[in-house]
């Protein structure tokens, strides 16, 4: 059905006929006008099929007018900019747009998957659960891939998204969701009180469906009233209007998220630098929910054929876009509102008749329709639809409420159907955060009841379906909201204009229209179009015992599609109600979950992608490392230089070179990431005695001491060197990764446990750039750097420090060593760091100084048997386990973890203890983490007695070395133990002291 002139000769309040546009739909060039949606333009071109359904691959067309659309899901854009699963009714047209239909192969009109429809008697509710259970392995390798290919909707793009996205935060006194007549009126009333009002609306044009609403407000139309209020709001300084923005979720404490489509409708906006989408994170004082109502489809046989549309959507197509749904139609309704559609069609010159399930429709609109010569068939339903890719004819059957089968019927030719089963208040946002609802018999729907948040539903969202009621309610709710956030808010003093609107007859619920013959076989009554769930599926679930509505939902997938049951929920409950004889309130509702409509992953990520994905910390020397070609290693959020391969070198070669430079000459390490914390106060020394396992109150001013920290459980948590700057003043060093955690740990003890201590703790990590100059030539390098202090071994021995200057650089120099060599850690203010680094390299040049990275550092310390907290410890390791019993004070009355060390299992035998390992073959390097076993067997399980914690090829010793935690390790010196590896190889290693190099420590003190 293409090529027919469905665009009416005139009309269309949204389109600008002077601005024709052209775009591509499934490769075909389609013409439209500025203001069209993809849906309206494609329909105008005569095409009705927009896609194939999820499970049965049935042809589907447009059903709705806006965000409630569940059928016409399309993909827009090409390549990396392709976005699948968008609602064609919401996509605003621009020149050159490329759009495609989805879930069809090879084409829309002929689809191989449609064979599922012919086989549908084999696809009942719960089909997947029943069928693919066996054989088990088939699920992963056969069933799932095939199902995923055949089902599903659009395809995700494969390339990186080239657009930008961002977040925006705002607090607003009053947030109004929905820009229809309720939202506009309430926003103006709230704004008159002087508070800040944020109005959110998902459409490009404010007004909601005022243009599709009958009646007069004041002297003009409802749409005219809406436009006037919208214009006044736009001029108010305290009102922010977000159009094309969907409130997607409502959360605790009136937190709301809204998804703004900034640039989707106009590529020139994107080109100018705008983010494609913006995610708003909103904190609201009071929320006015004016989200309107959604029209219900009716469950009749084959109610999913293209050309069967909601009555409001037909009206919208005619009034907004000047598009006729066909030439000869049937309006099928159970309420008066759909008569407006019949009247609009008649006025547009489209032939139409009304089928009304009610026995005596008699409202004003019904009268008007009859007076206009429209044929009305009361007590009737559509019992059958003929046609596959479109509607060819229907059968109209006599109907009486409660009657389950067709007695008489007549065939009527037609090419479209407009259906209306009544209106459901859009309750989703009301319910996201626990709002209660109640069933309203008049509406045959749920409406808001109570809520614990400051939120008020108004207008159609509150079930108030008349203009007069809506305006009155909106005005008072707007004033009240302003008052509730600001008691001094002025009253709006607005006088509502007089409203005239047609009186309405009562609606009569119809949950199922009986069909000719057995239903579900070629006669499907669709409830959830997007997930292809029929009335028969729901009844089957009942018969099979899935009685709870939540079970029915999961068994049949009803309401679980991307539309979250907007149009299907209540119809499904109605079917269940009739199937079980329970009332709808007794059946209950399923949970409404955010989002209201799907929003993009890009908007969720916001700007935090690529270089902003994770904050990366660099030291003052970072650029030098980069220029030098350093390989970087992550240490927390820091990037530290791991090694510096020069041209032609691999990492192994550069690490070896760096290590030998430190052992034989002198090396320079950027240690700026070390945690640094100043601790001062009359109780500082006693405080440190409690934090560390060893004694600090005895430390002399000018001296350094290595300390161990445990947690309350007695397990090692950090280590480092602390120095005494003055009697009451210390500088603590922590591990690089522990800097923030230990500062918080100190504060926590001071603020929550030992509040009587007078101690201040100030983290100063980033104030200082700090470098280790290590190696036998370290002192010679230092002395060339113009120190104003005596650097001789006597005046400046190991574990002491100096504060002074080196040339123009203010410095703190600590003689401490993590390499086992003569070593000075030089700290200077960070902004002078790079200058001093360069100066040290220049001064060291004649001694062959080399920068070394963190891997060389780790090998150097392992050669000396120094532990790294986190390598040699795993959160269950005590100081005694790692052989540092000597650092656990016997004299101190108390310190953190002391009591825990007395527990039997920490004192007991067979603890894993730190030992060194030498492999039988010196070229064998044990894998990190390799397990030692008591006895090697052909295959696991084997009893494990410990694991490797650090393992390296030591260039200094010319052989491999390792450290390990081994059961009773210290008692096993000299014993050889086995490490079965993957692939069957077994490495053997002899247990030795973990100190492999310079055991008497002569080099440190040299």
């Amino acid at each position: 059905m293409t090529g027919k002139p469905y665009r009416l000769a005139s009309g269309g309040n949204r389109i600008d006929r002077s601005k024709p546009l052209s775009f591509s739909f499934d490769g075909r060039t389609v013409q439209g006008f500025a203001g069209d949606t993809v849906a309206s333009a494609v329909l105008a071109s005569g095409q009705r099929v927009f896609g194939r359904s999820y499970k049965y691959h049935r042809p589907r067309g447009v059903i709705g007018l806006g965000s409630e659309e569940m059928n016409a899901l399309i993909g827009v854009g090409v390549g990396a900019r392709h976005e699948p699963n968008l609602r064609a009714t919401q996509i605003e047209l621009f020149n050159g747009m490329t759009a495609v239909s989805q879930n069809r192969w090879p084409s829309l009109n002929f689809d191989i998957g449609a064979i599922n429809n012919k086989l549908s008697r084999f696809f009942p509710g719960g089909f997947y659960y029943k069928t693919f259970m066996w054989p088990r392995a088939f699920w992963k390798h056969v069933y799932e891939p095939v199902i995923r290919y055949a089902a599903g909707l659009g395809k995700a793009p494969e390339d990186r998204d080239p657009d930008t996205y961002e977040h925006m935060h705002i607090h607003a006194d009053v947030v109004v969701v929905g820009g229809g007549i309720a939202g506009l009126t309430a926003a103006e009333a709230a704004a008159a009180g002087g508070v800040r009002v944020l109005l959110i609306d998902e459409n490009p044009v404010l007004g909601g469906i005022a243009d599709l609403t009958a009646g007069k407000v004041g002297e003009g139309s409802v749409a005219g009233y809406a436009k006037a209020v919208a214009d006044r709001l736009a001029a108010l300084p305290n009102v922010q209007i977000l159009s094309r923005t969907t409130a997607v979720g409502h959360f605790h404490h009136n937190y709301m998220m809204a998804f703004e489509r900034v640039g989707d409708h106009d590529p020139s906006i994107l080109a100018a630098g705008a983010p494609r989408h913006r995610l708003w994170k909103i904190r609201a004082g009071h929320i006015l929910l004016a989200s309107g109502a959604l029209e219900r489809p009716i469950a009749f046989a084959n109610n999913d054929r293209p050309g069967i549309t909601l009555a409001s959507a037909v009206r919208g197509m005619v009034e907004r876009y000047g598009v006729a749904p066909g030439t000869n139609g049937v309006v099928f309704t159970n309420n008066d509102d759909a008569y407006l559609t019949a009247l609009a069609l008649k006025k547009a010159g489209v032939n139409v008749q009304v089928v009304d399930s009610r026995a005596r429709p008699q409202g004003e609109l019904v009268q008007q329709a009859m007076a206009a010569g429209i044929e009305v068939s009361p007590s009737s339903v559509i019992s059958k639809v003929d046609g596959n890719l479109g509607v060819k004819s229907v059968k109209i059957a006599a109907y009486r409420k409660g009657q389950g089968r067709v007695i008489t019927e007549k065939k009527v030719d037609c090419d479209f159907i407009a259906m209306s089963g009544g209106w459901n208040p859009a309750l989703h946002l009301w319910c996201h955060n626990g709002g209660k609802i109640r069933f309203d018999d008049g509406l045959a729907s749920f409406r808001p009841n109570t809520h614990t948040d400051a939120i008020t539903a108004i207008g159609a969202a509150n079930g108030s379906m008349s203009v007069a009621e809506t305006l009155a309610e909106a005005l008072s709710a707007g004033e009240a909201a302003a008052k509730s956030v600001n008691a001094k808010a002025k009253a709006a003093k607005t006088k509502l204009p007089a409203v005239e609107e047609p009186s309405r007859g009562a609606l009569e619920a119809i949950w199922f229209a009986p069909a000719t013959g057995g239903y579900n076989e070629g006669n499907k009554h669709f409830i959830d179009y997007q997930n292809d769930v029929t009335a028969a599926d729901l009844e089957l679930a009942q018969r099979e015992g899935y009685e709870s509505v939540e079970h029915t939902k999961r068994y049949t997938t009803f309401g679980m599609a991307t539309d979250q049951g907007k149009t299907s929920n209540l119809n499904g409950l109605g079917v269940l109600s009739e199937a079980t004889g329970r009332s709808i309130p007794e059946i209950g509702v399923t949970t409404f979950r955010p989002p209201y409509t799907p929003y993009s992953f890009g908007s969720i990520a916001g700007s935090l992608t690529k270089e902003l994905f994770l904050p990366i910390r660099g030291t003052p020397i970072f650029n030098w490392h980069k220029d030098k070609g350093a390989v970087f290693e992550p240490v927390g959020q820091w990037r530290r230089a791991y090694t510096y391969p020069s041209a032609g070198e691999d990492k192994h070669a550069s690490i070896t070179r760096e290590i030998l430079a430190v052992r034989n000459k002198v090396g320079l390490l950027d240690a700026s990431t070390l945690g640094k914390i100043e601790i001062k106060g009359p109780d500082a020394a006693e405080f440190l005695d409690r934090m560390y396992t060893n004694m600090f109150s005895t430390l002399k001013v000018g001296k350094c001491r290595y300390g161990l920290m445990m947690n309350e459980l007695g397990f090692l948590s950090d280590d480092g060197v602390t120095v005494r700057l003055a009697d009451d003043h210390f500088l603590m060093h922590t591990t690089s990764g522990g800097a923030d955690r230990i500062a918080a740990w100190l504060e926590e003890w001071l603020q929550t446990e030992w509040t009587h201590y007078k101690v201040f703790v100030t983290p100063v990590t980033e104030q200082w750039a700090q470098f280790a100059i290590a190696g036998p030539k370290a002192r010679e390098v230092l002395s060339k750097l113009e120190p104003d202090f005596d650097v001789s071994n006597e005046a400046f021995p190991h574990m002491s420090f100096k504060i002074g200057r080196m040339g123009g650089y203010p410095v703190r120099v600590f003689r401490i060593s993590f390499s086992g060599e003569q070593s000075y850690e030089v700290a200077t203010p960070a902004n002078l760091g790079r200058g001093l680094w360069d100066a040290i390299l220049a001064a060291g040049e004649e001694f062959g100084i080399e920068a070394y990275g963190t891997e060389a550092l780790h090998v150097l310390r392992a050669e000396k048997g120094y532990i790294v907290v986190g390598d040699e410890t795993d959160g269950t390791t005590t100081p005694i386990d790692v052989g540092l019993e000597g650092l656990v004070s016997k004299k101190k009355a108390d310190f953190i973890g002391k009591r825990s060390l007395e527990q039997s299992y920490l004192k007991g035998p067979n603890r894993k203890q730190l030992v060194g390992l030498l492999t039988e073959d010196p070229n064998d390097v044990l894998p990190d983490g390799a397990y030692a076993v008591r006895e090697v067997k052909d295959k696991p399980p084997m009893a494990m007695i410990g694991q490797v914690t650090s393992t390296y090829m030591s260039p200094t010793l010319g052989r491999s070395i390792a450290m390990a935690l081994i059961e009773n390790g210290r008692a096993r010196m000299g014993e050889t133990i086995s490490f079965p590896l993957e692939g069957g190889k077994v490495m053997k290693g002899k247990i030795v002291s973990p100190v492999f190099y310079d055991q008497d420590g002569g080099r440190i003190n040299a």
């Binding site: 300084p237 906006i269 904190r283 270089e611 902003l612 904050p615 910390r617 003043h729």
Partner: protein, 197 residues
């Protein structure tokens, strides 16, 4: 003589031209972290004599005397800003005047990077990374507060209506700069409550 060479955290970056508010690093400012109890009268008096101004006691406020500005950070912590050249001398003076009084003054001039944002829209640029609402009347010039900004901790100082300084730890300078550059990109203006006073 070995001359000290100064290099600020963002020294290698040029001011961008593609943003709708201007961005630049402030490198010439010195900073001192001062700890002490606001309830200790001796401490408060000694601090005033060293700084020339009372330490602010009200949360989120600042106090100014000449080129010295004091930020309230918590009931027992203040950040003092002054010209960089004066910072060490002032920290030493504070330590001297506070001798015998429980306190801790540390020169932390190099610990943070400062980025100045200037122009129409600075407040909304910050709001793209922080949940605080700077368009609210709670944030007049002189306001200081710490905040979570993008994925990190930052300190915010509203200098004037359209001038904001953001302080972050030095190692996050590049990250902060990159985030702000993206947030302030021309074309991404939000104009939140544009007509509000």
């Amino acid at each position: 003589m070995l001359e000290a060479r100064f290099e600020s955290p963002l020294a290698s970056l040029a001011a961008p031209t593609d943003t709708y508010v201007s961005m630049r690093e402030i490198a010439e400012r010195g900073m001192i972290d001062l700890r002490g109890s606001a309830g200790d009268r001796k401490f408060m008096a000694a601090a005033k004599s060293a700084l020339g101004v009372d330490l602010p006691k009200q949360p989120r406020t600042t106090a100014t005397w000449g080129d010295v500005r004091v930020f309230w950070l918590s009931p027992d912590q203040w950040l003092i800003t002054c010209p960089r050249a004066k910072a060490q001398e002032m920290a030493d003076q504070l330590s001297k005047d506070l001798a015998g009084i429980h306190s801790l003054a540390v020169n932390v001039s190099d610990m943070r990077a400062i980025i100045r944002l200037e122009g129409e829209g600075v407040r909304e640029v910050v709001m793209k990374g922080s949940a605080i609402d700077l368009t609210h009347g709670d944030y007049p010039p002189g306001t200081v507060r710490r905040m979570r900004f993008a994925e990190i901790a930052a300190l915010l100082h509203v200098v004037e209506d359209n001038v904001i300084d953001i302080y972050v730890f030095r190692s996050f300078a590049q990250y902060t700069w990159d985030f702000l550059r993206k947030a302030a990109r021309k074309g991404s203006e939000v104009r939140v409550f544009p007509k509000a006073g």
